[in-house]
């Protein structure tokens, strides 16, 4: 059996582990555009003040040796013939028996009217290196986009002594989470830490002016040395756009991570998985999903049977002093019940979204301890009607759950109770 | 303001205290209180009952509980206990309650009896090398077996009366679910089943969780008739009619309503939260012939398959009473001496009523022999049996087996603070508080009981082996192997033993 994995990110690693848990012998070939070992995307920030890739390596060199993986690095896929099961690189072609597409995502870079200079982005090692090298003589930085990457990058840059302006088109940072309160708290935190935060603004145009860049917003003009775009990512589907592969925003897969083509799987940021909760395909580019998707695909590719859990967004994030963990749907619909607890002084905020007696989303700011218990309640679709007040008002506590539920949880994760 | 001097002083060694607050969490009497704002553990000595839960749990041994040296002026007639009792009664207007057994310094005859051992003429037997038999059968014995021999084959024609087989002559005495926790009951039940002996339900009925131990259960029928029904009678291996209890002869039982939880109310078949009151007498037994009828009734209800025990407190004319009980058809007579324990009793009764088990046992055994009816019943001695030596002495005086209650509780953690009646037992034994009952893990409780009884059994084997005896029946009533020390002629005579040196 010959497995080919395109990409070398988290889901590729997951897939290797998944395949090797079933099949120790089959040949695994890994093709990646990037000429380095797998690294941790969420930790990319660390590359702003260092070029030591080891600091953020996700799996070391030995991992590939141990799992007997042949790497073809620094080469990109040109095209593919799914009928003949052949991949075409620049110079060579590779046959596959089972294929995993784990090409990940790439940065969204907006077209700035009138601007021909470089717009930096920050979604992979090359971009990070490029940004680092360029930062030396640049002091005023404008960051476009108040999402996760934008907010976090602002923090890093301001800590490096840069003058940072964060331009957000919505009313607050991380507005995609769907919770204004969180955005408010974070807006405040960001402002307090010396970042110039411009909310509900649109960039109209930009132009080079001397060594500087002048950005025109809808109501003012600001000067800067560099623009970094953090307007999110989009699935890297370019080599497959004209194939018979079913693609929406990303490559559509079922709950076995299978695409519409036999023996072709996709996982990670490039894939979109059907979500029964929302009744649509969802592309949720976060690390646990990438690993799990890859692992699941790996097992299915090597003859096993694995079904991916219902996926939903979740994140652990720290902006300056605010630690937060969010999970599931925080943007309630009409009949959903929302419970919140706020202690502005202690910077503690808790939010639970309940739909038909089940927890579907939760946010914890400040005290995030034991968040996994809530996460499991969402994942396992547990009834919280009788315990929701406890969950909200007290520290999250495993013993809030009824005994039989606790025992079921223990059994399902760790085996029979003697 | 209470004018009663605290009994104990609690000392905390600050050099050792790591402020882990185990003491605060463990003391149900609320001797310790933690004040977060001051980061301070306050100690209230007056609440301490001297149960030693705190100092035994303290991971750095930072606590010591000592007797309060500050006491009322010494007076051998008006001792501190007496003064405190008076003050307490002056403050409350009630009877003084107490728990466990009589602790007053009356003579212990066990401590005045010495055992014999073999030398030269009769080899002592080494229990490690030779079989040493402790198995005992309790129940009425036939006077004579009818055996037929036909064509060289032997047929036993007599049908034996129902017998209780015990692998060691030690059983656990009656403690009701209610007076003790379910975990404690389960510890006793499971230990009894592992040991091949019996525990006793007391008057608490049989919790559904414990039916599986029925083979090793003696079910009690007492004056309150709590939890008595056909299934109960038939689930148990034997039935004990409780007439009296050594700690409180002539006194009934009283389980306060707050201890009557839902589980207990279901087990006892009574409304939850109401006081469970056992009358002083059985109101259908005002005389020996009434007892005979109840024995007959129980036998009828259990298809004559189960032995019936009758338990009485050791009182002045026990011998005549025992003879009556034997003739009323009981299979086993249980005599409970005045050192026997209780969950709650007025201390004036506990400390002043009844007679020592040693004396009662000796006269009852002799009386039944004098009437040639000793084989009609087995005798179980109870009430303050503290050690294997006490058990051996009891058997040599004439008992078939002994019951242990207090010793069993001590094995499970009891420190004899005597506050059982408060229902706040820090060791999780005599309480129904769900925070406290969990303190006894039946796996540990039952193992401790098994260990205790096994070690006593080993000691009994060693003792009888040293006497050159290798079966317990050869010890039973073998008073020749006992000698008294410091006994008057009257005492020797009553005990039926010679003085040491004779």
């Amino acid at each position: 059996m010959k497995y080919v994995i395109i990409g070398n990110g988290t889901s590729a690693v997951g897939a290797i582990e998944g395949i090797r848990s079933m099949d120790q012998k089959g040949e695994i070939i890994l093709i990646s555009k990037e000429n380095c070992i797998s690294y941790s995307k969420p930790q990319l920030y660390q590359m702003l003040d260092s070029d030591d890739l080891d600091k953020i390596s996700y799996r070391d060199e030995e991992f590939y040796v141990k799992n007997n993986v042949s790497k073809i690095l620094g080469r990109s896929l040109k095209s593919v013939d799914f009928n003949k099961k052949v991949l075409f690189l620049e110079k060579e072609s590779i046959h596959y028996d089972k294929l995993l597409i784990a090409t990940g995502a790439k940065a969204n870079i907006p077209d700035l009217k009138g601007f021909s200079g470089e717009i930096y982005s920050f979604t992979n090692i090359a971009e990070a290196n490029n940004l680092r090298k360029s930062l030396d003589n640049k002091n005023q930085i404008v960051i476009l986009g108040g999402g996760l990457i934008g907010a976090k990058l602002s923090e890093y840059l301001v800590k490096m002594g840069k003058e940072v302006t964060l331009i957000v088109s919505s009313k607050g940072v991380l507005s995609s989470l769907g919770d204004e309160k969180i955005s408010d708290i974070l807006n405040k935190e960001i402002l307090e830490n010396g970042i110039k935060l411009l909310l509900s603004r649109k960039v109209v145009s930009a132009k080079k002016k001397d060594s500087k860049i002048e950005i025109t917003l809808d109501d003012e003009k600001i000067m800067c040395d560099a623009i970094v775009s953090c307007k999110g990512v989009k699935p890297e589907i370019s080599p497959f756009e004209k194939t018979e592969l079913s693609i929406g925003r990303g490559i559509k897969v079922d709950d076995h991570m299978k695409t519409n083509i036999d023996d072709v799987y996709a996982a990670g940021d490039v894939a979109e998985i059907f979500n029964p909760l929302e009744n649509k395909y969802l592309n949720i580019p976060i690390l646990p999903n990438a690993f799990n998707g890859g692992y699941c695909a790996g097992i299915n590719m090597s003859g096993g049977e694995s079904k991916i859990d219902t996926i939903y967004p979740m994140n652990s994030l720290k902006i300056f002093d605010i630690q937060m963990i969010t999970m599931g749907m925080l943007n309630p619909e009409k009949n959903d019940e929302v419970l919140t607890l706020l202690d502005s002084e202690k910077k503690i905020y808790k939010k639970l979204v309940i739909r038909e007696g089940k927890l579907i989303g939760a946010a914890l700011l400040g005290d995030v301890d034991r968040a996994g218990i809530l996460n499991n309640i969402i994942r396992s679709n547990l009834d919280v009607e009788s315990i929701k007040e406890d969950l909200l008002n007290n520290k999250i506590n495993f013993y809030v759950l009824p005994r039989n539920v606790r025992e079921d949880i223990i059994k399902s994760y760790t085996g029979e109770i003697k | 303001m209470s004018k009663i001097i605290p009994e104990f002083i609690v000392k905390k060694n600050e050099d050792k205290c790591i402020n882990c607050k185990v003491c605060v969490r463990q003391c149900s009497e609320e001797v310790y209180k933690y004040f977060e704002d001051f980061d301070l553990i306050r100690i209230y000595d007056d609440k301490c009952v001297g149960c030693h839960r705190c100092d035994l749990m303290c991971p750095t041994d930072a606590l010591t509980i000592t007797k309060n040296n500050s006491q009322y002026k010494e007076n051998s007639h008006w001792d501190n206990y007496t003064i405190k009792s008076i003050k307490k009664q002056a403050e409350t207007g009630g009877m003084i309650l107490t728990g466990s057994g009589n602790d007053k310094p009356y003579t212990s005859y066990w401590d005045r009896i010495l055992l014999d051992a073999s030398q030269v003429t009769n080899p002592a037997i080494d229990p490690i090398r030779e079989p040493m038999e402790l198995r005992t059968y309790l129940g009425k014995k036939s006077d004579k077996l009818s055996i037929k021999e036909e064509n060289g084959e032997i047929f036993l024609e007599t049908e034996l009366s129902p017998q209780l087989k015990i692998e060691t002559p030690i059983m656990f005495s009656a403690m009701s679910y209610g007076s003790i926790s379910l975990n404690t009951c389960e510890s006793l039940a499971s230990a009894a089943s592992k040991l091949g002996t019996f525990y006793n339900t007391g008057e608490g009925g049989l919790h559904k969780k414990l039916y599986k131990y029925g083979k090793n259960t003696i079910g009690q029928v007492a004056s309150g008739r709590f939890g008595v029904h056909t299934d109960y009678l038939n689930a148990c291996a034997a039935i004990e009619i409780k007439i009296g209890q050594g700690a409180k002869p002539g006194i009934g039982g009283h389980l306060p309503g707050e201890k009557v939880t839902v589980e207990i109310s279901q087990t006892r078949m009574m409304p939850p939260g109401t006081d469970a009151i056992s009358p002083a007498p059985h109101h259908d037994i005002y005389s020996i012939e009434d007892l005979k009828q109840l024995i007959a009734l129980i036998k009828e209800a259990t298809d004559y398959e189960k032995p019936v025990l009758v338990k009485i407190a050791a009182v002045h004319n026990s011998a005549a009473i025992a003879s009556g009980i034997a003739r009323a058809g009981a299979d086993v007579i249980v005599i409970d001496g005045f050192r026997g324990g209780t969950g709650a009793a007025p201390s004036v009764i506990r400390d002043n009523t009844g007679i020592p088990i040693e004396v009662a046992l000796a006269v009852i055994d002799q009386r039944l022999r004098d009437e040639s009816i000793r084989n009609d019943v087995s005798i179980v001695a109870a009430g303050g049996i503290r050690s294997s030596a006490d058990a051996v002495k009891a058997i040599a005086l004439g008992a078939d087996a002994v019951y242990i209650g207090t010793a069993a509780l001590v094995a499970m953690g009891c420190t004899l603070c005597q506050k059982c009646y408060k229902g706040k037992c820090n060791w999780g034994l005599t309480t129904q508080d769900p925070v406290l009952t969990r303190r006894l893990n039946p796996a540990i409780g039952s193992q401790n009981l098994v260990n205790l009884v096994n070690s006593w059994s080993l000691e009994i084997k060693e003792i009888i082996g040293s006497m050159g005896i290798n079966a317990i029946e050869a010890l039973r009533g073998n008073r020749y192997r006992l000698r008294g020390i410091g006994l008057s002629d009257v005492e020797s005579d009553i005990l039926g033993i010679e003085h040491a040196g004779m």
Partner: protein, 142 residues
């Protein structure tokens, strides 16, 4: 091999001595009084002791069959070593993804790094189990 410390909540008496002994075990001196009274820095206990009404119990890492923390770790710093889920201190960056997914709440947040029960890997039985006065904690090794 799989190790698991289970708490039988029926018999957890809420003394929290498991925490105390866990602290001592993971202190510099290993001595209870030195650890508590003289050592300057002390890691918080690796036990998660919880109470709810009459129920209490102590939870440590259950060593899941298929640990979610291993999959969620953004640094690949968690792996199963000799039956125990182990966090590589060198590599942990404190992103708390593991805290986010652990269904038992058994991973704790330290100053900068996550930490959890190590099942006292240098001992036959973890100290919490050894010192549980009511044997509510049970150590299972498969």
């Amino acid at each position: 091999m799989k190790r698991r410390v289970m708490c039988n909540e029926d018999f957890c008496i809420g003394c929290r001595l498991c925490e105390v002994h866990c602290n001592v075990k993971h202190s510099k001196s290993g001595d209870i009084i030195l650890a508590y009274k003289y050592e300057e820095e002390r890691e918080p206990s690796r036990m998660a002791f919880e109470e709810k009404d009459y129920v209490c119990g102590s939870i440590v890492c259950m060593n899941c069959k298929d640990p979610l923390c291993v999959k969620a770790c953004s640094m690949g710093a968690i792996e199963i070593k000799e039956g125990t889920v182990a966090i590589d201190d060198e590599r942990c960056v404190g992103c708390w993804m593991c805290v986010m997914v652990c269904p038992f709440g058994a991973i704790k947040r330290g100053d900068k790094k996550a930490f959890k029960c190590d099942h006292c890997h240098d001992m036959e039985t973890p100290v919490c189990v050894l010192n549980c006065p009511n044997k509510a904690l049970v150590y299972e090794v498969d």
